[in-house]
């Protein structure tokens, strides 16, 4: 099986690729448009350098060759989401080519403008041009994937790199789209315009299973129907699409000097793979922990700051086991929360020095993802510090009040001790260390 991808990624520049309109699409339809992105007669595009620079950084991170000069072309086709009925894209000479991400070769990377969005409502169709002109990069791979699973792993790695470069927002799934070519022993099938990582995986899984049963007998273009999780034939191909490319005469050739490229290279942060091996050796972490921490840039940043003050192993454990779990549970990302590192340090410092117990630490960590406060003051104010002065008294009371459980424990039911510990913890209102409680209980019952 051979799979090749054309991946479209929306860059997150502040303004559109050829005009000054904002790229935020979460507003009223057709309010983030101007004469340029709506294609009014007489308007002309001017390249937003930021889009090109972001693109070059991605290309460098994907080990690509940057062209010395590059230019834009017009790709002509009629479609209602296109304001000019041609798309400004790159054809002959993309700004980057011959890249590689692990075992997958990348043929080319080019810049282009996103069309508007068609919104189907019953029998009518509305058009929102807010999206028209948002910068895209298209990454074209060689047909190097041997299974949908390889695609999945590749895209995850790609997304991590894009996140590290801060050009991609994981939350908005729509910002990653792909066309996929897939062939087994038969002809090539192209699946057009699949949106989001999950759908790309599902579409390829579906088509791979289909073709393993019956290899395609003719070249076909299909569409992915995400509602029914099926591919559908759009057309069988007799010839290539003809877009009648010409050079974009409203834009000039762009020189990509060595100085510019090396300047942009310097702006590239340490990427995930490098970060992973550094975390592993520098903090003596387990490989799996280093991998999880480096899979998200923000997480790794929090970790390194916390590890300056807190035992790295302990920090890693709390950040991976608890913080990530909390976020996953509430479907949040690091970008959505206002977590101040100094508060995490304060909290873990209390725990590390045996001032608060495991449960209090966890509760406060959850609370910290929701609001900003000083754990130290909070613990003080709510009397959550560990306090063993009354522990024996509480234990004696619990033993008196729960005679049956005590008997059960004595007759060999080990679990009863957990129940009794719980009762003591309740009395201590979180100021007790459960291990210590258990120890006292066992001694008293003996």
């Amino acid at each position: 099986m051979k799979i090749g991808l054309e991946i479209h990624v929306q860059l997150n520049t502040k303004s559109k690729i050829f005009c000054g309109c904002s790229t935020s699409t979460s507003t009223e339809p057709n309010t983030k448009t101007c004469e340029i992105c709506s294609g009014a007669p007489g308007s002309k595009p001017v390249l937003n350098k930021e889009a090109l620079h972001q693109g070059i950084k991605v290309a460098l991170a994907l080990n690509s060759k940057i062209a010395k000069t590059t230019f834009f072309s017009r790709k002509s086709y009629f479609y209602p989401d296109m304001t000019k009925d041609f798309q400004i894209t790159q054809y002959e000479i993309p700004f980057a080519s011959k890249g590689k991400l692990e075992n997958i070769n990348l043929r080319r990377i080019h810049l282009e403008e996103d069309p508007g969005a068609l919104i189907h409502k019953g029998s009518t169709c509305l058009i929102d041009y807010n999206r028209a002109g948002i910068p895209l990069i298209e990454i074209v791979t060689e047909p190097d994937f041997k299974s949908p699973n390889e695609v999945r792993l590749f895209l995850r790695k790609l997304i991590t790199i894009l996140e590290y470069l801060e050009v991609y927002d994981r939350k908005s799934e729509a910002t990653l789209k792909a066309d996929a070519n897939i062939s087994t022993t038969g002809e090539k099938v192209e699946i057009k315009n699949i949106t989001g990582l999950k759908e790309i995986e599902s579409a390829l899984d579906y088509e791979a299973r289909l073709q393993e049963k019956t290899p395609a007998s003719k070249q076909e273009t299909k569409r992915w129907d995400p509602d029914n999780q099926k591919t559908q034939t759009m057309r069988t191909k007799e010839s290539e699409d003809d877009y009648g490319y010409i050079f974009e005469p409203d834009l000039t050739k762009i020189e990509l000097s060595k100085e510019l490229v090396s300047l942009l290279k310097k702006e590239i942060p340490e990427l995930s793979l490098d970060k992973m091996s550094r975390l592993e050796s520098e903090y003596k972490l387990k490989k799996e922990d280093a991998e999880v921490l480096s899979s998200e840039k923000k997480l790794a940043e929090i970790f390194e700051k916390v590890a300056e003050k807190i035992d790295p192993e302990l920090a890693a454990k709390w950040l991976i086991r608890d913080l990530r779990k909390i976020l996953n549970y509430s479907k949040l990302t690091f970008k959505d929360i206002t977590l101040e590192v100094k508060h995490v340090i304060e909290l873990l410092d209390l725990f590390q020095n045996n001032k608060i117990n495991d449960k209090t630490t966890k509760d406060l960590l959850i609370k910290l993802t929701q609001e900003s406060f000083s754990p130290k003051e909070y613990v003080k104010k709510h009397h959550l510090e560990l306090d063993s002065s009354n522990l024996e008294k509480f234990c004696e009371e619990v033993i008196k009040e729960n005679k049956k459980a005590v008997e059960d424990y004595k007759s060999g039911n080990e679990k009863s001790i957990n129940f009794l510990t719980g009762m003591v913890m309740r009395k201590a209102k979180g100021t007790a260390n459960p291990k210590e409680v258990e120890k006292i209980l066992k001694e008293l019952i003996k």
């Binding site: 007669p41 007489g42 000019k84 009648g244």
Partner: protein, 452 residues
């Protein structure tokens, strides 16, 4: 009264702006009935601007009436580039040149008639065909026919902002006996110009006499960050013309035109530009049509301009709107232009033409190493009657651009100056200089003009 004198009088308050504007509006309305030089006369806008300028005249062109070729966007004024498909279309923004002119106090009196999107050399490919000032049965030339026509006819101080892709300023300037300057490509911002062929389009100016070009040219030129192809260089202020040459191939035409053109010249060499003679017409038409066919795609009835009830698939709808509102010539250029860039033909036509264009530019560049100004007649024929134009095939019509496409393809500044009459019809002489050397041709143009 020439423009410079009028501007001086305004400055010294010897003349009323409102009175001048009222007079030229009256004149425009009367002339328009007979000559169709305007698609729209912007009376209210002009009077409003005049009143403002009367109160406090400001800017280098304070109070000067100007007409604008229809293809240049004027905010809130119908700008349809001579096309029916853009009827009633009012841009939401001013072209950069318009903004510059208005900021300098110029007063817009109307949009002049033209071939649809600039497609033609006789201003006949449109619904409002301008008629020659010297004979109503004769063409004004094109595509800026309306601009040239009114510039010749008006008795008031006036300049017309026009546009050339392959000769659309020089050609009508010659046919209507006015001065028409096409500046270096990129020297005047194209922002707000409704595109014909972007790599060739140049905004320029027409005035009755050559010396009047200066004040307008000085205002409209200059870098514009809204137009990526806008030049960031200043034109040379060296206006000394030391050596001139006539272009050999350009004089292999009507002997009357040849002789009268040469009669105005002395001390010239003869230079041959064989590549331009052979290849400029096909190169020009391939590039111009390829670009035009993409530029016209956006006119599909969906977002602005004329439309029809939404029926069938979007492809059917687009085709119906475009079939109904484009002229035959626009359709011809869409089809030919699309053909030259189709897979399988693109290498042989579009890409070849792009390469040839470089050779043609180099041929000119070589000539300018030796000469300051190259000279030819502007047009190979006298202004033809409409009845004669009807008999020409499209190819014969395209051949009429043979003398003007060269400098246009090479982005070179060129000027057509009035050079007398043959019978009652005028001829023009075309002067071409190296890039950014507009001052040389304007200076030399004044000399030729004075000999007539």
């Amino acid at each position: 009264m020439i423009i410079q004198h009028y501007l001086k009088d305004v400055k010294e308050k010897n003349i009323s702006i409102t009175k001048t504007i009222k007079s030229i509006l009256r004149e425009a309305k009367t002339l328009n009935k007979k000559h169709n030089c305007f698609n729209i006369i912007t009376e209210d806008l002009a009077l409003e601007q005049a009143e403002e300028q009367e109160k406090s005249p400001s800017g280098r062109l304070a109070g000067l009436p100007i007409s604008i070729k229809d293809c240049i966007c004027v905010k809130n004024v119908e700008s349809r580039a001579g096309s029916k498909i853009l009827k009633d279309y009012e841009p939401t923004f001013n072209a950069t040149v318009i903004q510059k002119l208005v900021d300098e106090g110029a007063i817009i009196i109307g949009k002049t008639s033209q071939d649809e999107f600039g497609f033609g050399g006789f201003s006949t490919n449109t619904d409002n065909i301008p008629k020659n000032p010297f004979d109503e049965k004769v063409s004004c030339g094109g595509s800026s026919g309306g601009s040239a026509c009114f510039t010749q006819l008006t008795k008031n101080p006036h300049a017309s902002i026009s546009e050339s892709t392959g000769g659309s300023i020089a050609n009508p300037a010659s046919f209507c006996s006015v001065s028409g300057l096409t500046p270096t490509y990129g020297l005047v911002s194209r922002y707000g110009l409704i595109d014909y062929a972007n790599s060739l389009d140049k905004i320029g100016v027409m005035t009755k006499t050559t010396e009047e070009l200066f004040p307008i040219f000085n205002v409209i030129k200059g870098h514009d960050k809204k137009d990526s192809t806008s030049l960031n260089e200043k034109p040379s202020n060296d206006n000394k013309v030391k050596k001139i040459a006539i272009i050999k191939e350009a004089f292999e035409i009507n002997p009357e035109i040849k002789n009268q053109t040469l009669a105005n010249l002395e001390d010239y060499d003869v230079i041959s530009l064989p590549l331009n003679k052979k290849y400029s017409i096909p190169t020009y038409y391939i590039i111009a049509m390829a670009e035009a066919s993409t530029n016209l795609a956006k006119y599909c009835g969906l977002r602005y301009g004329q439309t029809l009830p939404l029926q069938g698939s979007f492809n059917d709808f687009f085709s119906e709107v475009r079939s109904k509102y484009f002229t035959k010539e626009a359709k011809r250029r869409i089809i030919l232009g699309t053909f030259t860039r189709m897979a399988g033909f693109r290498d042989a036509y579009y890409l070849k033409a792009m390469k040839t264009r470089t050779l043609l530019i180099n041929e000119y560049k070589k000539a300018f190493k030796k000469y300051d100004v190259l000279i030819s007649p502007t047009m190979p024929i006298l202004p033809p009657k409409f009845s004669e134009i009807d008999k020409l095939s499209p190819l014969e019509q395209y051949q009429m651009d043979t003398l003007t496409v060269g400098p246009n393809l090479s982005g070179l500044p060129h000027l057509s100056v009035p050079s007398g009459f043959i019978g009652k019809l005028p001829i023009g002489t075309m002067l071409t200089s190296n890039h950014l050397e507009e001052e040389k041709i304007i200076n030399f143009g004044e000399q030729i003009e004075q000999r007539n």
